[in-house]
């Protein structure tokens, strides 16, 4: 451990410390009015996450460094760590108005958000199966709490939380059991060593154990990424959870897992001989294809916007997996780039949903968006931009990301998946356009209240929108950074 090590751990440290600080603030609330504590917690979170993000960017680009056997800080962790932190920051900012409208204490939510972020951050740099487990569980347990955290959200949130807890728990068990099996057959938990061992030939007599271990690890990861057939929980949780928490689930929790998957595939791909690698790749390819088709088909006639975005996230993670599987020089870059674009987009979308929602009555049904363009043109434009980005229409980040992703997939000769991707995209266009058409509908229905955007929400939306267009119009700076940080 050299003297610089603390520097790379700084973002994680700051995040965790902020979580603690918020918890303390909540604990010592005492006679101070509720709102004041909430605002203090919010300010602490914003500051903490901003500081973490700043330090993350400051240490990014340094030479790869291993800290304890569990973590490695390299390009992947730099970028995805930044994505996780930025997403979390955006969620906190977007949540502000929503939470302030609540009729109950809400400072604990910030503590849980920060903890979950810390878990995701740990995931981005974990190079070790135990690191994976630790990060994942920190994240998951926070999420159980977060989903159920808003009492006024009512039974829906409770139901969602319970489902998530049981299913995610089971998935964790699969993951842990898989890891144990791998450990049993190979004798190491470090990812590079593990894949090296595996590629050197499965230890005689333990094929069953090894492949079962791999399969179970995939179940765990597939569940987190909501890949088909481990996707059933997604729409219910997305719908039931409070809107800002849904945004968190859709971005922060995905970022960390993608980082791990990236390492896994890269490690497997680097040493792959066709006969070894193929098994894993075929399963992943099947998951990807199924996710793309099933996700898009399920979203097709969906009337609830949050569910629709949930299904679309299933499909989008399928797209992302295609890039991962493509391998080569372009594959990982395309995957990371896609994740960034997706995170920006989905945050923007859920940002609008959040701003339009009250805990008791969230802006779920498509009818809530009818004629939005004429009532609140800027919000509707932001939503339209997000939806178009999801559909991959030019001028938005989604377009460039999809272009890059397809290029990578073609480069990697993943023609079958590309075909499925095209079919899925076409299906997607239909329901994305439906959202836009609903927002343009005339005559606009009379609506009761129009929720204020709030300053921090406005800043977040504006920033996300700007980045969305920036990536869509002039992506070369982003691609350059990716090239530098991801090497090659």
């Amino acid at each position: 451990m050299s003297g610089e090590t603390p520097m790379v751990l700084l973002p994680l440290g700051i995040t965790a410390a902020s979580a603690l600080a918020v918890m303390l603030a909540a604990a010592v609330r005492g006679p101070t009015p509720r709102a004041a504590t909430g605002r203090a917690a919010e300010a602490l979170s914003v500051l903490g996450l901003a500081a973490a993000l700043g330090s993350q960017l400051a240490v990014a680009g340094a030479a790869p460094r291993r800290v304890t056997p569990l973590f490695v800080f390299d390009g992947v962790s730099s970028i995805l760590g930044a994505v996780v932190l930025a997403s979390a920051l955006a969620v906190v900012l977007l949540a502000s108005a929503y939470l302030r409208r609540l009729d109950e204490p809400w400072e604990e939510i910030y503590a849980l958000l920060l903890l979950g972020t810390a878990g995701a951050l740990a995931l981005t740099s974990s190079d070790h199966l135990v690191g994976l487990v630790l990060g994942l569980e920190t994240l998951s347990v926070s999420l159980y709490g977060l989903v159920a955290s808003v009492r006024t959200r009512g039974d829906e949130a409770l139901e969602a939380a319970m489902k998530y807890l049981v299913l995610a728990g089971a998935a964790s068990a699969f993951l842990l059991f898989g890891v144990a099996l791998l450990y049993a057959s190979v004798g190491t938990l470090e990812l590079p060593a593990l894949t090296a061992e595996l590629s050197a030939g499965t230890p005689a007599g333990s094929e069953l154990v090894t492949v079962a271990g791999l399969a179970f690890v995939l179940v765990g990861i597939g569940f987190k990424l909501a890949l088909v057939p481990f996707h059933l929980w997604t729409p219910d949780v997305y719908q039931g959870a409070p809107a800002p928490i849904t945004a968190f689930v859709a971005t922060v929790s995905k970022g960390g897992v993608v980082a791990f998957l990236l390492r896994l595939v890269a490690a497997a791909g680097a040493v792959a001989r066709p006969e070894d690698g193929e098994g894993l790749f075929v399963v992943l390819a099947l998951l990807a294809g199924a996710s793309i088709l099933v996700g898009n088909l399920l979203a097709l006639l969906q009337r609830d916007v949050k569910r629709l975005l949930a299904y679309s996230s299933i499909a989008h993670l399928g797209y992302l997996l295609v890039a991962l599987l493509a391998g080569g020089e372009l594959g990982p870059r395309a995957a990371v780039f896609y994740l960034i674009a997706y995170a920006v987009t989905i945050l923007l979308a859920f940002g609008v949903v959040t701003i339009l929602s009250r805990a008791e009555q969230e802006a779920g049904d498509l009818d809530a968006y009818r004629g939005l363009f004429w009532r609140r043109p800027i919000l509707a434009s932001a939503m339209a931009a997000a939806v178009f980005s999801l559909a991959g229409i030019p001028l938005t980040a989604g377009f460039v990301a999809k272009l890059y992703l397809l290029l990578a997939a073609l480069d990697g000769s993943r023609f079958g998946l590309v075909g499925i991707l095209v079919v899925g995209s076409v299906l997607g266009l239909y329901y994305y356009l439906r959202v836009v058409v609903a927002m343009l509908a005339t005559p606009e229905p009379e609506t009761a209240a129009s929720e204020p955007v709030g300053a921090s929400g406005g800043v977040a939306l504006a920033g996300l929108g700007a980045v969305l267009i920036w990536i869509g119009v002039a992506p070369s700076a982003w691609l350059r950074i990716l090239g530098i940080w991801l090497g090659g």
Binding site: A173, A180, V209
Partner: protein, 98 residues
Amino acid sequence: MAGEALALAAVLFALGLVGLLVRRNLIFVLLSLEVMLNAAGLAFVAAGARWGQPDGQVTFLFILAIAAAEVAVGLALVLRLQTAFRSLDPDAASRLGG
């Protein structure tokens, strides 16, 4: 030796899974979850023993903590669920869907 322990762990895991699927009471569902997690823990211990490394045991400790945390949150939710739905049937709360 490790083989047998792993097999036992697998059986435990399967039992937990079956319990999760068939039990109609959330308390038992959570219990089944515990069984599955502990099966994983047992497998870790067995694997650690096979390689003569401490990693297995260390991980087992982690798993204990994880399981505790899961159950803690889980039980809290069960409490609220019971007041909200007046039932502990895991399928009672199924308003979300479609």
